[in-house]
């Protein structure tokens, strides 16, 4: 009899079966893993901005408070990107001829906004409010990372719902005295857990995890 199947087909059959099984497990598993990679979360990628704005220089060298530019962070949901006018508060005096700042001057003169590229973003359907976090002692660094060490700002934390929930469930890990919110170097003195629990009371922190806290 002319056999259609030869011994090698046994191996073939087994390999095919293995591949099917591996695919069934691997594809969803892989996707789930991928969703957790910094790449998929667009983290750790310095983002090039239209103007070479260096946070390192402004915050460390010049010692400018975050809130000088992001000046609505403690009273509004939005921390706000400074208007061009604010840049020129200083730069009309210093570096007022610098070619790097050409676009800033152009923006001001032509009354045309600078289009910055967004770095950090929570999902559209999550209503994040900067002011309550800043006023309850959650430091900028907790979500934005060491912006003072970034030449170009990059996304430091995943900002997924899981990330938010971690802190909302155990806020003490990310609390600091309200006076230190912009301090990038602040470290708790003594037992961090102890400090966290103390700050929880001191700052009058009541985190909530009800859906409408963020989703409306």
């Amino acid at each position: 009899m002319n056999l259609l199947f030869r011994p090698k087909h046994n191996t073939l059959a087994q390999i095919s079966l293995f591949l099917v099984a591996a695919g069934a497990v691997g594809v969803p598993g892989g996707l789930m893993l991928y969703a957790r990679t910094p790449y998929a979360r667009q983290m750790q990628e310095p983002i090039e901005q239209p103007i070479q704005f260096d946070h390192r220089h402004h915050t460390r060298d010049e010692g400018i408070d975050c809130r000088y530019c992001h000046n609505t962070v403690d009273k509004s949901p939005s921390a706000s990107i400074p208007p061009t006018q604010l840049c020129l508060n200083c730069h009309s005096q210093i570096w007022n001829k610098s070619p790097i700042l050409e676009k800033v001057r152009e923006s001001f003169i032509q009354n045309k906004p600078i289009e910055w590229r967004r770095v950090t973003k929570v999902a559209e359907f999550a209503y994040f409010n900067h002011s309550i976090h800043v006023n309850k002692g959650v430091g900028c660094v907790s979500c934005h990372g060491r912006v003072d060490q970034m030449a170009a700002v990059e996304k430091e934390e995943p900002l997924t719902m899981g990330f938010c929930l971690d802190c909302h469930r155990h806020p003490e890990k990310n609390l600091r005295p309200v006076s230190e919110v912009v301090n990038m170097d602040w470290k708790p003195e003594g037992d961090p857990e102890e400090t966290g629990r103390r700050l929880l009371v001191e700052n009058d922190v009541h985190t909530r995890t009800s859906c409408t806290t963020c989703h409306r």
Binding site: L4, F5, A13, P158
Partner: protein, 470 residues
């Protein structure tokens, strides 16, 4: 073999109608039952297939349109949040159940007449479940999310499905049901596939059947485990069927809606499922045995037995209706009473209700008469009517209950759109297409089991003579 007589399946041994007609050997059984596979598709098959494919095309159009436009292309509204989608889902799932019941329960009870129809019924189950499976996803507003948010996977959102919802239960129940039905059907098919492989004349066919036969060689060591695997799958399928339709009925029964909140739903849904399933088997079996030459294995005895099952389940369904109405009256709840005695019987959609009563309660009464049970035309028309009736039952439950609920201010009427109707016709197309392909490529009867039966009948002195003619 001392077969315990199942209460719900009256099989009067005093009526010696043969299960296999004519004198047969393994070879002749083999050849006769494979005949329709080897024979080229006839004109009739192509015609039917053409119709089925066109209906399938409609399904594709309707699904595409639904996905493109949204559920708004259907007739649903508030309060009638569910309509054709869920009706079709429950209807198809119900049809599917008969297949499993025939092959699994009858196997457990060792009913010999099962062998001629079980493959057929199992295939029907599989295809009906495929049709049903379209809807849980399609009826959602955002199927692209529903497709995976219903699964308990560790998401970056940290959120899980809500395991108290009957819809979550449905996801598990229906996917389990589909998986188990597929495995059960395939496991039963393997020896036949091997037989097809070995009796096919063209290398291509042998290759294809060979791949699916997985190298089956009828080994005694395999048979020993196989019998257990098959029996256990059958054993598992039986409670599975009951649980699946119980859970489907929970979609309604756990709610607060008058007409849905009915504790009798689980058993009566199961009975209804068997009822409609047998009707669907008959609807297809009658023409198939005529055109595929299966008369010698699907004998009048089989048809009669099925008619008896329909009579019994039809009575159970009727009993369910009566109980619903009785409890609605007895409870004294005005909402319940109004739903059953005012809205259903006199409301704007009352014709559907009365059609349901006619088809499901009156029509099966024909089967008290042996003449009707054995008249093919009566059987066929009745089985189609029963299918219609069971669809109306789901319409009554789903739409009629929803469109008149607690607050009269929110009452609305319901009318389907062309998409609804096309979707329904389309699923029939899908079912028919799959069924016709099944009839074309796989023997419609479990050949191996018929052979086994023939040997059993030949050697069992208590069984009726295999060769006797009718």
């Amino acid at each position: 073999m001392a077969a315990p007589e199942p209460a719900i399946l009256p099989n009067d041994p005093l009526e010696p109608i043969p299960l296999i007609e004519g004198k047969h050997t393994d070879r002749t059984i083999n050849d006769s039952l494979f005949d329709h596979v080897w024979r080229g598709p006839g004109k009739g098959w192509w015609m039917l297939f053409g119709c089925a494919l066109s209906a399938l095309g409609l399904l594709v159009i309707a699904i595409t349109y639904t996905l493109y436009k949204g559920i708004g292309s259907w007739g649903n509204n508030i309060p009638v949040g569910w309509a054709f989608g869920i009706i079709n889902f429950v209807w198809w799932i119900g049809i599917g159940h008969a297949g499993t019941l025939i092959s699994a329960i009858l196997l457990l009870f060792q009913q010999k007449w099962r062998t001629s129809i079980n493959r057929f019924a199992e295939a029907m189950t599989l295809f009906a479940v495929i049709c049903a499976l379209l809807f849980p996803l399609l009826h959602t507003g955002r199927p692209w999310f529903a497709a995976y948010w219903l699964m308990p996977y560790p998401s970056v959102h940290r959120i899980w499905p809500q395991f108290k919802s009957p819809l979550t239960w449905d996801v598990f129940a229906v996917s389990t049901y589909f998986t188990i039905s597929l495995l059960f059907w395939f496991l039963g098919l393997v020896p036949d596939l091997a037989a097809l492989r070995d009796s096919s004349k063209s290398p291509t066919k042998r290759l294809i059947y060979g791949i699916f036969a997985m190298g089956w060689r009828g080994s005694g060591r395999h048979w020993a485990e196989y019998k257990w695997a098959y029996l256990l799958l059958a054993g598992l399928s039986t409670p599975l069927v009951l649980s699946v339709h119980t859970i489907v009925s929970f979609d309604f029964a756990v709610s607060v809606l008058p007409g849905w909140h009915t504790t009798i739903f689980p058993p009566y849904f199961v009975a209804g499922a068997v009822f409609s399933g047998f009707a669907m088997v008959l609807t297809w079996m009658l023409p198939a045995r005529e055109f595929l030459g299966l008369k010698h294995v699907v004998t009048p005895k089989h048809l009669e037995n099925m008619a008896k099952v329909m009579l019994v389940t039809g009575m159970m369904v009727t009993y369910g209706y009566v109980m619903e109405h009785f409890i609605a009256w007895y409870s004294g709840s005005e909402y319940e009473y109004s739903q059953f005695f005012r809205v259903r019987q006199h409301g704007p959609l009352a014709p559907i209700y009365w059609l349901m009563v006619t088809c499901n309660c009156v029509v099966p009464q024909l089967f008290w008469s042996k003449r009707c049970r054995t008249n093919l035309w009566v059987l066929w028309v009745a089985s189609i009517l029963i299918n219609v009736g069971m669809w109306c039952e789901r319409f009554t439950i789903v739409v009629i209950s929803l469109h008149r609920d607690f607050l009269p201010s929110s009452w609305k009427n319901y009318s389907p759109t062309w998409v609804d109707i096309t979707l329904f016709i389309g699923t029939i197309g899908l079912f028919s297409t799959l069924f016709l392909l099944f009839l074309k490529f796989v023997p419609a009867v479990a050949v191996t089991e018929v052979k086994e039966l023939r040997h059993e009948l030949a050697h069992d002195p208590t069984a009726e003579p295999a060769g006797e003619t009718h």
